[in-house]
Chain length 338, copies 2
DNA sequence: TCCTGGCACTCACCGGTCGTGAGTGCCAGC
DNA sequence: GCTGGCACTCACGACCGGTGAGTGCCAGGA
């Protein structure tokens, strides 16, 4: 088992390395942190920490840098979550309060996260499946062509065309619109299929085809939009990544462009509480030299989507975690209000 | 005036430099291109071209590289637009045909452009001001709360809440909906303000307040959405930019994050035909080492928005221009069909 | 007048050598 | 179990000379 002081040494190494980006040696450590022991003692501790795999040396006769395992221990046992200062909190709130619609909320959130953490920010749009239907609207575009609009409680709007097998009168349209809304308004998207399945039967023979088409399109919208969208920002922060450039950031940029990869990444994170994935803990190879800090957010108590940041494993974990958590809270509030 | 052969030499220099990314010397030039003259002659021509500012040497006793002015001459007088191969054309069409909605069209276009040109792609969403209104829908959410939905001919949907000064009956709602649509459906967004200004007067006194609120919101949507959105992709291609990394791509990434900058960039381009801005011709400082190739696209004969790519000044202009033009055409077709 | 071959010159690049210093491991003593 | 001392390692930067691609210039020929 690692003694208390060795953990302290590890913490000091992580902090110094995060600050300077350079391998940290025993002498510098004792000078910057008052550990109360000599460099020689620290050297012994370092040897032990290296033995256990928490730190490593890039070359013989260089200082040590933390390994993924070292960061993991640091995050789990040594680091708290650094709360934001109150001016920061106020700035967040003001900035988000000005948002005019859902797109704007998401866009502002991305900017905010990227600026606060000086890293790449990723924000998932509130998911359709977990949110509820506010309203379904049907419009007639042409005699045998309808438009279906679905509005969710998070302010998202989806729209689809429906080609009808037969002309559909205004009366029937109003009827269908009313019945559809009375069944699904306020209900969760995931419950919709069950709620509408017997709807065609209650219509005249001649209209059933059209009603079925509308329902099919509605359900299809549901399925398609389960592939969620997301927005990223702050990629310019990647340039502060390290010295050995292109090789590191190339795969990261590629991964960030693959929405599928990112969605999977966020999907793997815990639904509640904050998740930190460090280096090789990330399944995707391109992200092996990055850490991902993510957390769910939502309008009520329940998380409807996730947001987070992607940065070098050598990041300021307490600060990043604090910023991510705070932003998620405020976004949740904003969504609840609107 | 530059002789025919000197122009030929410039063309050869641009082509070789684009291919190899290395300064090109007189000997290599005569070997790769059958110019019919000796290296010594080419050297004289090069000296003249340098004198005129079309090429430069990074150091004494190195080959020459084209300057921005050299690329400009190349693009204007020496390079054609390389048409895509027919398999490429088919691939584009197939890929775009599968798009399900406007977001998807834009997203696919970005991917396509980025892949074809191996550069950063930028696609502007079809603009509301230049497109027409397909339908306006009004829904009652609560006794004194309405939702306004605007649907454009390019498939874009915008939605806003309206708080009414007084309760608004279903009959009045249907009435307003009908009158609103009869006036604006099929009209350009920019014409809407004039078309609706006298609408409140034709309603009962008690409803006028609400009608005015609805119209105000409608016009506000118009103004807000004149700030257009855009989508970018292919940023990973920036890693192929050059050897001297962070210093070059940092400002480019920053510029790309500023939608305002990009919109201005696209806005400065000609409305019809293709625009190529080379290096320092770009107003934004961060893009001084890049070239931007852009073109308008639209569903009819008229351009409703622009798309383009951002890449190093040392890019394959004929190929890039060909790809950009072809993609713009197909996107226009797709939009016209939907 | 324009092109060509020849020639001397420049200078970035590459590989090797060497001194410096931060950092280490080990050990004997407190 | 901590400490000071000591020998060792090795990345890094500076220096240096050889190599070769490339240049500018010039005199001679079509």
């Amino acid at each position: 088992m690692l003694s208390e002081r060795r953990l302290e040494v590890l913490r000091a190494i992580v902090q110094d390395y995060v600050g300077t980006e350079e391998p940290v040696g025993s002498k510098a450590l004792t000078e910057r942190h008052h550990l109360g022991v000599s460099p020689a003692t620290v050297r012994n501790d370092m040897a032990a920490l290296e033995e256990e795999g928490f730190i490593a040396q890039p070359h013989t006769s260089a200082g040590r840098i933390p390994t993924d395992k070292g960061y993991r221990l640091f995050v789990d046992r040594l680091a708290g979550v650094k709360p934001l200062s109150s001016p920061e909190r106020r700035a967040i709130q003001n900035f988000l309060d000005d948002a005019v619609d859902l797109d704007d909320v998401v866009a502002r959130t991305v900017r905010l996260l990227a600026q606060l953490t000086r890293q790449v920010a990723v924000v998932q749009y509130p998911s359709l499946t977990r949110s509820t239907v506010r309203h379904v609207e049907l419009l007639s575009l042409a005699p045998a062509r309808l438009m279906l609009v679905v509005i969710t409680d998070t302010g998202r709007v989806e729209q689809r065309h429906v080609d009808c097998p037969a002309p559909f009168g205004e009366t029937s349209l109003a009827d269908l619109r009313a019945r559809l809304n009375s069944r699904v308004a306020g209900r969760r998207f995931s419950d919709v299929p069950l709620l509408v399945q017997d709807l065609p039967e209650s219509f005249e023979q001649e209209d059933r085809g059209t009603v079925s088409s509308v329902l099919a399109t509605l359900l299809e919208t549901l399925v398609e939009e389960t592939e969620e969208r997301l927005m990223i920002g702050g990629t310019a922060n990647l340039t502060r990544f390290g010295h050995d450039f292109p090789l590191v950031i190339r795969p990261v940029l590629e991964a960030l462009e693959e929405q599928v990869v990112l969605l999977k990444l966020l999907g793997e994170a815990k639904d509640s509480g904050m998740t930190v994935r460090i280096g090789h803990e990330n399944a995707h190879e391109g992200l092996n030299s990055t850490s991902v800090v993510s957390v769910g957010y939502g309008s009520g108590g329940e998380a409807v989507a996730k947001l987070g940041v992607v940065g070098p494993t050598r990041m300021d974990y307490p600060g990043t975690m604090g910023a991510v958590r705070a932003v998620a809270r405020y976004v949740g509030q904003i969504l609840a209000e609107s």
